[in-house]
Symmetry: C2
Subunit: 500 residues, 2 copies
C-alpha cells in the first residue's frame, strides 16, 4: 500500500469527521444551552458545516485516492476506512445536488406542517408534504441504486448491509408470537401498581441519583457529561467527550432513570470506540441498530433486571423515601416492568415496543414501494395498531402523526430500533453463556465484566465488521428473533403469572 | 456594482464568518462544559476549522472578486465589507504558511514553558521561547508590511488603523499625570475599608444577583447567557446568541459583580450589532479597543458610579445581609472604588490599570523594535513598575511572567485595554453632554437611554467606521487623554480627600 496515498486519504477522511463532529457539538448546544434567539444563526452554521463536509466527501480527488488504494490495503484499519469511505462517497456522489437541496427544503416545510397537523390532529394538512417526501425519497433511492427494492437504499443509510427482505423476514416471524404474548399479558391475572412511579420524585434527587447510576454502570464523567434537553439523546466527539441528555419528570420516575441508562448505554459504546482511529470509520459505531443494541442492553437487560434492583433498590428507597418508603422491592420491580398495550411508541414497554416498529416499517416500506398511498396511511396505521397491539387510536395525533421521522423524510430509520432490541437480546444471551456469574455480578453492582465483554466483542472493533458479520462473529449465528422472544418470555411470563 | 459578483463575494465572506463563529462556540464550550478528556480532540477540531477559514480567506478567487468589485461599491455596507475583506485577505495572504505553522508550534511550546516558568518564578526558562516568538513576530510583521515600524503591523491585527506612533504619543502624555495621581492617592488622608468586600458572599446569591444586574443594564437573556469559566470572557455568534462567562469568589464580591458588568458590556455591544449583516464586517465589532470601551463603560463609568449604587445598594444589602448589614452606602461605595498601587494587572483598579498597560506597551514595542533584549525584560519591567506604580515586584511571577499574552505571541494586544479606557471616557463624557439627565437616569436604574445612545452612536455601525473615525464622529474630536484624566480626577479626588 502506498503510504503517501493512504496518509493523504486519511487526512481527508479525518477532516470530514472533524467537521461533522463540530456540527454535532453545535447541535448538542442548540438542544441544551443555546438561547432562544440563537436558532436562525445556528441553523445556518450547521448547514454551512454540512455543506463543507459534503463537498469534501464528493471531491473527485478523494475518489481518485480511494481508487489508487483499491485492493492495496495491507492492514485491517486501512481496509475498513477505505471500504466505508468508498461507500459514503459513492452514496453522496450519486445524488444530484438539486435533489439534496429539494429534500432539505421540503423537509423543512414538512416538519412545520407536521407540527401543525399533529397539534390539530389533522392528517390532511400533512398529507401533501408526505407525498412529496415519498416521491423525493424514491428519486433519492433510484439515484443511489439498490439490488432488491428502493427501500434498501434508504435502509442502508442507517443500517449498512441490512436488506428490506431480511427485515421483512425477521419482523414477519416476530409479529405473531409477540402480538400473542402482549395479548396474553393484557389478559393476565396479575397487574402491577404503576401509580407508585407517578408519585413525587424531587428533581434534584433524581439528578444526583441518575448520575450515580450512570457512573455505576461505567460511564466515565471525565470523558462525558449529562445535561438536560427536551428530547434525550447521546452525541459524541470520540471516547473523551460523550454528551448524554435527559429530562427529569418529577411525577414519573422511569423517564430520567431509564432514559439515562439508555443514553449511557449509547455513551459507553462511544467511550469504548478505539481512540487511535478517531474521526474515521475504524473508530466509529457500526450502525444505528448496533448503537441501539447497546442502549437497550443497559436500559432493559441490565437496568430493568431483578438483580440490578436487588443491589440498588435499598439505596433508591432511601433517596426517594417519600415516594418509595412503603413500596417493596417486588412491587417496585413489577411496576418498572409493567407491560400494557399503548398508543405511543416512546412510552411503550420493552415487550410492546417492537410491535410499534413493525407497524411503522410495514407502512413505510409499502409507501416507498408504491403499494400504499399517503392518503391511506391513517387507516393502515389504525388497522395495524388494532391487529398488533389490540387498541385503536382515537385520533391521528396519537396515531400516524405521533413521530417526527417521516416529516424529515427519514424513511428507513424506524427498523433500527427493533433491530437494536434483537441484537441486544442475542448479544446478552451470549454474554450470559460466556459469563456464568453475570447475574451474580449484576446483583453485586459489578458491571465491569459485562462492560469489558462488550468492549472486547463490540466496541473496540469500530466499523471493522458490518452489523450482520459482527452478530455472526460474536454469537456464532445470524441475527434471529429467538433470543428476544426467549428473553421476554422468561422474564415476563412468571412476572405476570402466565404459563411458560 | 455587479450584483452577481457582490453576492458571490458576500457568500464567501459569510461562510468564513460562519466557520469562525462555529469555532468560537467550540472554544466557549471548551472553557465551560467540555469534559477534561475532550481537550485533545477539541484542539484538533478548532485547528481544522481555523484552517478551513484561512484557506477561504487566501483563496485567489476571493481576491479576484474583491478586485472586480474595487471602486464599484454603491452602498455603504458593501464598501465596508469589501474594504475589510480586502484588508484581512491581504494580511492572511502575505504571511507564508510555514511561518504561520512555526508561530503556532512555538506558541504551544512557549505557553507550556511560560506556565512552568511562572509557577517557579523562573524567567530564564521562558526566555528562549520569548526570543523565538519575538523573532517570528518580527518576520510576521515584515511579511505583512507596515508604514512606520514593525510593531504597527502587529497592532493593526487588534486595532486596525491605530499606529505605534499614536499609541506612544497618547501613553507618553498619560504616563506622568496618571502616575502622579496614583502617587497622590497613595499618600491621601483617607483610606477605604476593603475588608468588607472580602466577607462571605454566598455563591448562589451572587449568581442570582449578578444575573439581575446584567438584566438591569439591558442584557437580553433570550439572546444570551451567563456560564462559569476559569477566565471570564464574552463570545458571540451574532446579536441573538451572546455568551458571557464569569467566576464566583465567595470571599471577594467584586470579582463576579464587576466581572459580569464588564462582560455584559461586551455583550451589549454584540447584541447591538446590526443583525442584517451577520457574519460579515458590516455587522461586526470595530476593534478590540472599541469593544473594551463598551465593557469598561458599563463596568466602571456606570457600575462603579455613585448613582448606580444609590439605586441598587439597598437591595444589595438585603441580598447579602450577613456581609453588608452593617455597611453604609458611603463605605461600600468607597470600598469598590479603592485605588492602590498593586503588582497584578487583572486585579488593578481603574486608575492604576492604564499604568500596567503603558509598562507592557513600552516593553513589547521596544522588543519588537530590537531596542530591548528578551533577557532584559525582568529588569525593565521592575524598573518601570517602580517608576510608574511605586512598587517593585519581589519576583518575576508577580512581574513580567504574570500575563499569558506574550507566551502566545500576542504582541500588540495589550494597548487595546488602555485604549478601551480612553475611548470609554471620551464616549461617556459626550453621552453626559448629550443627555443632561444621564446621572438621574442611572440613579433611577433607567439604563435604556444610555444603551440607546450607545446603540445609535456605536453599536449599529458595525465596522462602518474605523475606531479613530468613530471617536471623531461621535465626540467631535480625535482620541485624547483628557476625558479620562478628568474622569478619574473628578471621581477620585473628592473620594480620597485630595485637592482637585
Amino acid at each position: 500500500m502506498n503510504r503517501d496515498h493512504y496518509d493523504a486519504f486519511l487526512a481527508r477522511v479525518r477532516e470530514i469527521g472533524q467537521i461533522d463532529s463540530a456540527a454535532q457539538l453545535l447541535d448538542w448546544d442548540s438542544e441544551t444551552y443555546m438561547p432562544a434567539k440563537g436558532l436562525a444563526v445556528r441553523a445556518e452554521q450547521i448547514a454551512t458545516l454540512a455543506r463543507l463536509s459534503h463537498e469534501r466527501l464528493i471531491d473527485p480527488s478523494l475518489r481518485d485516492l480511494i481508487e489508487k488504494l483499491d485492493g492495496e490495503c495491507d492492514d485491517e484499519a486501512a481496509e475498513t476506512n477505505i471500504r466505508e469511505a468508498r461507500r459514503l462517497a459513492a452514496r453522496a456522489s450519486r445524488v444530484p445536488p438539486d435533489l439534496v437541496e429539494r429534500i432539505a427544503r421540503v423537509s423543512t416545510q414538512a416538519k412545520e406542517s407536521w407540527q401543525q397537523a399533529r397539534k390539530n390532529s389533522n392528517f390532511e394538512r400533512f398529507q401533501p408534504h408526505l407525498e412529496q417526501l415519498i416521491d423525493l425519497r424514491r428519486q433519492f433511492a433510484d439515484a443511489i441504486g439498490y439490488k432488491g427494492e428502493p427501500y434498501d437504499a434508504l435502509l442502508d443509510e442507517y443500517e449498512p448491509g441490512m436488506t428490506t427482505a431480511e427485515v421483512t423476514r425477521l419482523f414477519a416471524t416476530l409479529r405473531g408470537p409477540l402480538a400473542d404474548f402482549v395479548q396474553a399479558i393484557a389478559e393476565a391475572p396479575r397487574r402491577p401498581d404503576t401509580s407508585i412511579l407517578k408519585r413525587h420524585y424531587p428533581k434534584q434527587t433524581q439528578r444526583l441519583w441518575c448520575r450515580q447510576m450512570a457512573q455505576a454502570i461505567g460511564f466515565d464523567f471525565d470523558g462525558g457529561r449529562i445535561d438536560e434537553s427536551a428530547h434525550p439523546f447521546c452525541s459524541g466527539a470520540g471516547p473523551g467527550d460523550v454528551r448524554l441528555t435527559t429530562r427529569y419528570q418529577e411525577n414519573f420516575f422511569p423517564a430520567a432513570m431509564f432514559g439515562i441508562l439508555h443514553e449511557a448505554g449509547h455513551g459507553l459504546y462511544e467511550q469504548g470506540l478505539p481512540e487511535d482511529h478517531l474521526f474515521v470509520p475504524r473508530g466509529q459505531a457500526v450502525s444505528l441498530g448496533i448503537h441501539e443494541s447497546q442502549s437497550r442492553l443497559w436500559e432493559n437487560f441490565v437496568g430493568r433486571s431483578r438483580p440490578f434492583w436487588e443491589r440498588f433498590y435499598p439505596q433508591c428507597r432511601i433517596a426517594f423515601h417519600d415516594a418509595l418508603g412503603d413500596v417493596s422491592l417486588d412491587d417496585f420491580y413489577f411496576a418498572i416492568n409493567a407491560v400494557s398495550p399503548s398508543l405511543i411508541r416512546v412510552e411503550a414497554d420493552e415487550v410492546t415496543y417492537n410491535l410499534h416498529i413493525i407497524l411503522r416499517f410495514e407502512i413505510e416500506r409499502d409507501l416507498i414501494a408504491g403499494k400504499l398511498e399517503a392518503r391511506d396511511v391513517p387507516a393502515a396505521w389504525n388497522d395495524k395498531m388494532e391487529a398488533l397491539v389490540g387498541i385503536r387510536p382515537e385520533n391521528d395525533a396519537n396515531g400516524c402523526l405521533q413521530d417526527i421521522h417521516w416529516s424529515m423524510g427519514g424513511f428507513g430509520y424506524f427498523p433500527t430500533y427493533a433491530l437494536g432490541n434483537l441484537y441486544a437480546a442475542q448479544f446478552y444471551a451470549k454474554a450470559q453463556q460466556d459469563m456464568p456469574d453475570l447475574t451474580d455480578q449484576l446483583g453485586h453492582g459489578d458491571f465491569a465484566p459485562l462492560l469489558e465483554w462488550l468492549r472486547d466483542n463490540i466496541h473496540r472493533h469500530g466499523q471493522h465488521f458490518r452489523a450482520g458479520e459482527l452478530v455472526q462473529r460474536v454469537t456464532g449465528r445470524a441475527l434471529s428473533i429467538e433470543p428476544f422472544l426467549d428473553y421476554v418470555s422468561d422474564k415476563f411470563a412468571p412476572l405476570y403469572g402466565l404459563d411458560a
